[in-house]
Symmetry: C2
Amino acid sequence: MKKNIFVLVIHGGSGTILKENMTPEKEASYLSTLERSLLTGKKILESGGSAVDAVEAAILVMEDSPLFNAGKGSVFTNDGKNEMDASIMDGKTLNAGAVSGVGKIKNPISAALKVMTNSEHVMLSGEGAEKFAELQGCALVDPSYFYTADRFEQLQMAKQSDEVMLDHSGANKKAHGNFENGGNKLGTVGAVALDIHGNLAAATSTGGMTNKRFGRIGDTPIIGAGTYANNKTCAVSCTGHGEYILRNAVAYDVSALMEYKNLSLRDAAELVVNDKLMKQNGEVGLVAVDANGNYTMAFNTPGMYRGIADSQGELKTEIYT
Amino acid sequence: MKKNIFVLVIHGGSGTILKENMTPEKEASYLSTLERSLLTGKKILESGGSAVDAVEAAILVMEDSPLFNAGKGSVFTNDGKNEMDASIMDGKTLNAGAVSGVGKIKNPISAALKVMTNSEHVMLSGEGAEKFAELQGCALVDPSYFYTADRFEQLQMAKQSDEVMLDHSGANKKAHGNFENGGNKLGTVGAVALDIHGNLAAATSTGGMTNKRFGRIGDTPIIGAGTYANNKTCAVSCTGHGEYILRNAVAYDVSALMEYKNLSLRDAAELVVNDKLMKQNGEVGLVAVDANGNYTMAFNTPGMYRGIADSQGELKTEIYT
């Protein structure tokens, strides 16, 4: 374990993000928001703050931006609501917190942090989680706060393609999200950090899938799937097709490959993302940092909004492969 | 992978289950219900049925019994409701299904199975999950169906001890379940099986924690935590203090130790339950079977309701260490 260095790596979601579908203005605003997120987290880390506080702060910037599918700008469910999930884990204590299916908490990541620090539970859901967050002093907002015209339009498009699919698939229609059709609309956000005290943390926040139904929960609020941190190994935050991440316990798997097979962080992440998940056609991306400050940003999709800042002065944001 | 043999291992929850707190009548009814669960699953396995169908059938018997904390007989939340969770995983396909926070589905395990087989999702929650289950033809019941006088009395006791704890802990009261005081009231149920085709499956179902609040979700509906199955390694179903199981991705960890460290099923389970979790004071139990038909029932509590039936003619039910 190295001390007195810090690393912060973030993502704003992976998916079918193609340069030809992007305007220069939109690209610039994604990159500048990622940079703002990095600088906010970096400020905490360089002044000796904790990895936990840094990942929360980095995510708050992305939750507050309408560009990403988390907090403001979250996608809409089939019912026209926003149901958000978030989780956070402290690699020093293995303590963790998560909220799922919340619609009134301005910053779900802060509520997840309160679950971790101020409750004996790991995961709270729905109205119960909102009640807890309110008691803990988290800001609640009217659900209209999360509305953005872009996301609402995506819902209408998803509903239309849904109907088309129904026409073609007959009566045997499955309950599905519009992942296949809407890969470029994903934008789960996440952050991992190593602080100068040698502690790791990971956090992830999402608005889920456009047009989702039936209270679907993806990988984001699941410790071991979307988020995992352990000072012994690494901190990981995932994005992509949640069902695959869940079934493969992706975040914990990266850690297990390091601990049990002595793989490097990079090799472990590559094996999970570009071998295991690739073979299952599971579209995923992740950011990870280990206890020595090595980091990786692995994804098997055309793009992932991402960035890194560290104590060596590196500051970089990227979108495409 | 062995073929033409089958194994079914079940649990009805671990915890502070002490002989001195048990009447002979109660003991006999626990043992006979466990045996009925085993015989129901065994019938499926010996006629060539799948591990998935066998674990569902075994769990249905325990869900329908008021003795266990799952289905009928589930514990009450602080609001006096029943909020149940269940999950199932198919080791052949790595497909999985789960429901969380459901209050009207007669058999949550069957709804979890429908999520696995008839949706593209892994986890559905709350009213959305109930709507999905109804569309899939799962039986819905009035919430009063789940009521048992014993469980309701436990809630009153838990609420009283809650107040006592509040008196002693001042204003800094945490959101907690009554695990510490109610260990002997736990009774999550689970089953794992190897079928004669060499396929593994695992399933778990629970009513959660007495007096739980804020929509708390434990490990039971979490793939990788409470439930995991993979033909390459093993099938695992956990019970105990859910927060510890979640943070340690216990079910997947047993599999990872087998796959990555070549540990035997028994050694992997022992390492997780009696070393890793013990060091964290995490009270847990699990049942597991591997692809060769080896099985284990590991727990670090005074007791675990459990049983095993196999193609060799073994049929055994036990409660204490």
